[in-house]
Amino acid sequence: MADVKLKGLKKSYGEVQVIKGVDIDIKNGEFVVFVGPSGCGKSTLLRMIAGLEDITGGTLEIGSKVVNEVPASERGIAMVFQSYAIFPHMTVRENIAFGLTIAKTPKAEKEAKVAEAARILQMEHLLDRRPSQLSGGQRQRVAIGRAITRNPEVFLFDEPLSNLDAALRLDMRMEIGKLHKSLDATMIYVTHDQVEAMTLADKIVVLKDGYVQQMGAPMDLYHRPENLFVAGFIGAPSMNFLDVDIVAQDANSAKVRSSVVAEFAAPVWREGVGQTPRATLGLRPQDLRPVTEGGILQGTVTLAERLGTETVVDIRLSDGQRVLASLGEDRVFEPGETIHLDFDHDRAHLFAPASDQEKEAAQTAA
């Protein structure tokens, strides 16, 4: 097991820079998840750690040794690919033992390691099958088994569950979580699925356009997103953003209002808020609750989705802006009905004023 340190890591393809200086400190045994929208560079970053992509700038340390020029096979890593990457012409046993065969490991040791991996992943009965006789989940287990037998310092997962259906994905997600606990290994995991990120990670790294937007514990990112993009990206449904005016401000809070937002005091701690009289107010759909009258927001219901445990209500405000509310109960709303909403004011988020494009980009990235 080892620490992984990325210091000012950069990657360019010709003139195009895709990773623009990334600093991440991953501690021994930590489960770190890279998330971000398509094209943010998360897979490229993982492949740079794996040694499958050259590093253009900065340094990469695994176990306090700089490995920029070290070949993939000597970095002490094992990688699980989205497409499983198991060899179709070999049995499960041969697949799992592939790395050991290459390393000319003695037969007895090889068999013991394969048996151990098969036991951990509960696939002893599949060892003599070929990949074509396995389901998607079983194939991914073979890929993980191959990684385990290498006894790597760092496990790398590149969207390993993307090809599985929803039910299997949940199972495999839990298995990977258990695996991390039982092996106590450093794991780096790339996904665009924020549920995977929130449930598996000790630390989430949110990437966008080749930069780290924020990293921290999942709940820190959820409750204290540092910028509009992270706020919109983490959490489902996505955070609502409304333009407001700042009418008064002290050290920790600001009174805000707009034509559709009644005046209230919101906490202020982010940089850039209060430098202009405008701000962007962020409200999580889960924080909104209906009230009989008054409240901070008022609008007309355009659509209500009853999911059993919650009801997601699409509301149009009087100025045409749209707000989603996720109400934690099964309630019936009719389209056209007027709804009043309130929330715990301390849970409001104030950001520096953002353009409509920025707001939309943050909301649609998730």
């Binding site: 040694g51 499958l52 990688m79 060899f87 012409h89 290459i102």
Partner: protein
């Protein structure tokens, strides 16, 4: 309704089979003509060509033509030579061309795009245009054999093999096939510590059955049908291939057509055997990729 549907389906199937059978007959007729003619005396053979009898086992049938053909030429030697030269060339070609394609597809090196383009450009050059300079070259090449150092490769097996080991078409076929292999398999192998040679031997080649069969069949046919080059470089009867051996059956005045047909029937057997042994893989390759062959 169901009956009408079933009828339509039956009709479609019947017409499809009718077309297939017609095409099969067109392809089978020359072979049938060859085999039937090889059993007939030359005089009858020529008379039969005026009617459908040419394709039927009728008249005075015997294996006399075969006996005569074996008496006229050392057919066993010719077939042995051809199978040997062709077999060795095919094996070496598969090895060399797949290695070259592997380097083109999986390994990054400067200038490979240019070199590959030049290689592809050689596809349009017919071998016949380079045979004269090639002949001059092989006649000067050195060799260290059982008899020590010697100069010139003429009248050897190797002169029939070496110039044809590497060819652009085979490399191109392998390149196209390798490009379609999942990149992750190669990357996973690299992460697992496999060398390029291990990746080639343990991962890429075991997955390349279809393209190996295709390249092997095309190369086999090309080599087995070689005529001009062996005619130019081989004068000794002991190492002549089958196509050159055909010359034993022609002279300016008289062609023993029955014997010619017997000879052709004999030398077709190795080709058919080779093709049939790889037919299943070959067809699946052509069907699945549409580019091979």
């Amino acid at each position: 309704m169901a009956a009408v549907k079933a009828d339509n389906h039956g009709m479609r199937l019947a017409s499809r089979y009718a077309v297939l059978i017609l095409v099969a007959i067109i392809f089978v007729f020359p072979l049938l003509f060859m085999v039937m003619s090889s059993l007939k005396p030359s005089a009858q053979l020529l008379l039969d060509t005026k009617s459908l009898r040419a394709f039927l086992p009728v008249g005075d049938l015997s294996f006399q033509n075969y006996t005569d053909a074996f008496a006229r030429a050392p057919i066993g030697v010719f077939v042995f030579n051809s199978v040997l030269v062709t077999g060795i060339t095919v094996l070496l070609c598969l090895f060399v061309c797949s290695l070259a394609a592997f380097a083109f597809v999986f390994i990054d090196w400067g200038g490979k795009a240019v070199i590959f383009s030049v290689l592809l450009a050689t596809l349009i050059i017919p071998y016949e245009t380079i045979f004269i300079p090639l002949l001059l070259m092989v006649s000067q090449l050195p060799w260290i054999g059982a008899d020590g150092f010697e100069l010139g490769w003429l009248n050897t097996y190797r002169v029939q093999i070496a110039p044809f080991i590497a060819d652009a078409l085979s490399i191109f076929l392998f390149v196209q096939f390798f490009k379609d292999l999942p990149k992750e398999l190669i990357e996973a192998s690299r992460v697992e510590g496999a060398s390029w040679w291990s990746i080639y031997r343990r991962v890429v080649m075991p997955l390349s059955g279809p393209v190996i069969a295709t390249a092997a069949i095309l190369k086999f046919l090309f080599m087995y049908n070689q005529y001009l080059w062996p005619l130019m470089v081989v004068q000794e009867e002991a190492i002549r291939p089958v196509m050159v051996g055909l010359g034993y059956f022609t002279d300016q005045l008289n062609v023993p057509w029955g014997e010619v047909m017997a000879y052709l029937t004999i030398i077709t057997v190795p080709v058919l055997g080779f093709y049939l042994s790889l037919q299943r893989v070959f067809i699946s390759s052509v069907a699945s990729t549409g580019v091979k062959g």
